[in-house]
Assembly symmetry: C2
Homo-oligomer: 444 residues x 2
């Protein structure tokens, strides 16, 4: 059989592009840098939204919806912010057949418009903390784009909070980093993440500090999976976000913002995929068990449906594929590509012995299992493989992380993995030197 | 106590505006016609998304995500479509600091871009039906706007499907109308809806037929709650959406599209609200039971929390309000405004007798209930009030619907409710005559 995908060690970016296309995850949109997310890719994102949303709500944060278009004047109110984002603006100049009096920008992020409204809603210390989040699309102009990883339009959540004190804002920034982001990435995505500070150079435009979750991809490179920003009083000053304290005085709020996006789908692919395609961790997987009729035969279709129903009844997210009009080999390759954790193949020969074959995507094992034991075997496999994927990713990272003593050693080590170097050895100069070689300081 | 809201029968639109503002549902955005949906309003929308999404998926439809910006050239491919929507375009002309070569339009709806991709994905009759949906934001320029009801930007779902035959497309259009839209509106929103065809005048731009769900508001007027369109082969011709049939010949697909939006939130408010504010049907309600500490006192806070925990444990969506630093009266008025179905008031005096007061929003009753019976009483009230709200809305509509024999009678009847008139009596001329008096033919 011809190789479906370019092997990872031959050309990793090409492998990534192959998986995204052939597993029907996404395609380029008609306008530069935009993407069409197909059902297979979107179902992963929906599960991410669900896992993240539960954790976000558990912090007391409520969802809301702010407008897509932001007046240019709002974006200018915080100097570093506009300087950082202006080159990426998509600008609406016409509406209803007329030129607009003031051009409006498709939101690249919503600190400014949300700042304007928070300033109205926050009056007294009793209104704080004000904890908001929105699930939305944003646009940033990009010259070079890659599906899921860097696109002009992407889907994301952006949290925005206002607090009475520096300490409260600081703690909330870290709570999001650890309890929401890292917890979701490690437990649901089975991706170990490094958590720490971004350098001044890599910080969000307008922030005091940016905290990040960084994960290692299968090419040894790092991907930024989510960031949580301490905005200090920069935006509360710009939008005059004041509250009356219990001391009867007016005070400026302390704000935070934090975001994760469809880029996580790209990270998931690159952290767990192999030369056969995607591998989806069971806890995240929209389809955990994929029940296939191998070919037509006495009772095959009925047995496949019965297993599917039994799996659903036991709380397993099962999908039935009964399309015996499509060659079995082609359907099996497609199932590997899409990375369903467990496949159950129901064919006439095994069925005659009262069995079906359970194929595990992570281990690659194919085991004939008595029909009455399938649900138990599948349930245990899903549990075990979630842990196995995390352990494997952790080992992979450990094997490719070295402690180094100089910037030159760090640059060399970064070719195959992560390098750990004390910041007082590296410093801003070391960062610039590394950057010239295409190596970035990811996490302090 | 001063009236919080303008009474409905004094000025219905003003009442609506008061509820939206004072129940903290939504506000105007900074750019014309846009809206900020606040947590109280957004939580209703989230529950609508959830109830609708389950029903949409039950039809076999999968979610996907298509780009926000559509090239102008795509929109021009279907003549009636572009003619209908062009006056409402919001147009992006600049990105990344440069003028775009081709202006792009913020999607007013996505038939065109989805048509382009479906044409690629559909090759053979085996690929049909192709059933897609997206949850997204769209923009249409509007001169006169009202929060939730008519806004320049709104959130919605838009379904787009391709079928092999006219019959299959026709049946799917009706399945969405009845099994998804009307079923959700009647069961979850407790809003009876009339289902039928739109006139040629009111039809979607580019459709063969538009089916609608129409609900009566408390001012006797109709609101279009959702529409399902048969697009025939108009878009498959425009985007060359062909498939190879089992007969070895190429055929054009038959397509449908269907949508519901945040306008449903406005409909919910206007169908069920009263002079005290919103009334939310229990099945939809994000907060079904609202447990309040009346004031500080021996064991009050503990008892309130215990009831809240017990309700949550019994599957009731409960929220605890323990803010005794805010006057009880103010909190109670706010709870009425926001329309929580059941309120449980825990105060020192009742508590001393082992009781709490259960207040039902629909009936307006206040009943002291033994603590150990609260969960049972609340659960039964939620069940009963869902039905009571539907029955009330149905009676209200029946009382305000008259069968008439002439267009003049219909115009007169429309001042206070619905008029039923045979279409062969009305016709296009009657429709034009009624339109001149501000009366529209809503549903055939
Ligand atoms: Zn102070
Ligand atoms: Zn034919």
């Amino acid at each position: 059989m011809a190789k479906v995908l370019t092997p990872q060690n031959e050309d990793f970016p090409r492998w990534y592009q192959d998986v995204v296309t052939k597993a029907e995850m996404a395609e380029n949109g008609p306008v530069k840098g935009q993407q069409v997310i197909r059902p297979t890719g979107y179902a992963l994102w929906e599960r991410m939204v669900s896992g993240m949303d539960d954790r976000i709500k558990a912090t007391g944060t409520e969802n809301a919806s702010f407008p897509l278009l932001i007046p240019h004047s709002y974006l200018q109110k915080e100097a570093n912010h506009v300087e950082g984002f202006a080159p990426e603006f998509w600008t609406v100049t016409q509406a209803g057949g007329k030129e607009l009096e003031e051009p409006v920008v498709v939101r690249p992020t919503s600190e400014t418009v949300i700042g304007e409204y928070m300033a109205k809603w926050v009056q007294s210390y009793r209104d704080l903390p004000l904890l908001l989040n929105q699930w939305a699309n944003v646009m940033r102009y990009e010259m070079r784009t890659r599906l899921f990883l860097r696109t002009s339009e992407f889907l994301w959540q952006e949290g925005h909070t206002a607090h009475a004190t520096y300490e409260d804002a600081h703690e909330f920034t870290l709570r999001i980093l650890h309890e929401v982001y890292a917890d979701f990435m490690e437990r649901d995505l089975a991706m170990p993440v490094l958590r720490g500070l971004k350098t001044v150079e890599e910080r969000f435009a307008g922030a005091l500090n940016t905290f990040t979750c960084e994960a290692m991809m299968r090419d040894g490179k790092s991907l930024q999976m989510g960031t949580s920003h301490e905005l200090g009083q920069n935006f509360s000053k710009a939008f005059d976000m004041q509250y009356l304290g219990s001391d009867g005085q007016q005070h400026l709020c302390w704000t935070t913002s934090w975001g994760t996006s469809t880029r996580m789908v790209g990270g998931l692919i690159m952290a767990h995929g192999d030369d056969k395609g995607l591998r989806v961790p069971p806890r995240l997987a929209p389809v955990q068990a994929y029940v296939m009729s191998v070919k037509d035969g006495e009772g095959v279709s009925e047995a496949a449906r019965a297993l599917h129903d039994e799996l659903i009844g036991s709380g397993v997210r099962s999908r039935l594929n009964d399309r015996t009009d499509v060659a079995f080999g082609r359907r099996a390759v497609d199932a590997e590509l899409k990375g369903y954790p467990v496949r159950i193949e129901v064919g006439p020969r095994d069925l005659a012995e009262g069995k079906a074959v359970v194929v595990r995507r992570v281990e690659g094992t194919k085991t004939p299992v008595a029909l009455e034991s399938v649900v138990k075997v599948v349930t245990e496999a899903l549990e075990a493989d979630q842990q196995a994927m995390f352990d494997e990713a952790l080992r992979f990272r450990a094997d490719r992380t070295v402690a180094v003593k100089t910037v030159d050693e760090a640059i060399e080590a970064a070719a195959t993995g992560f390098a750990q170097l004390p910041w007082d050895v590296c410093g801003v100069e070391g960062e610039a030197k590394a950057a010239a070689k295409g190596v970035t300081v990811r996490c302090l």
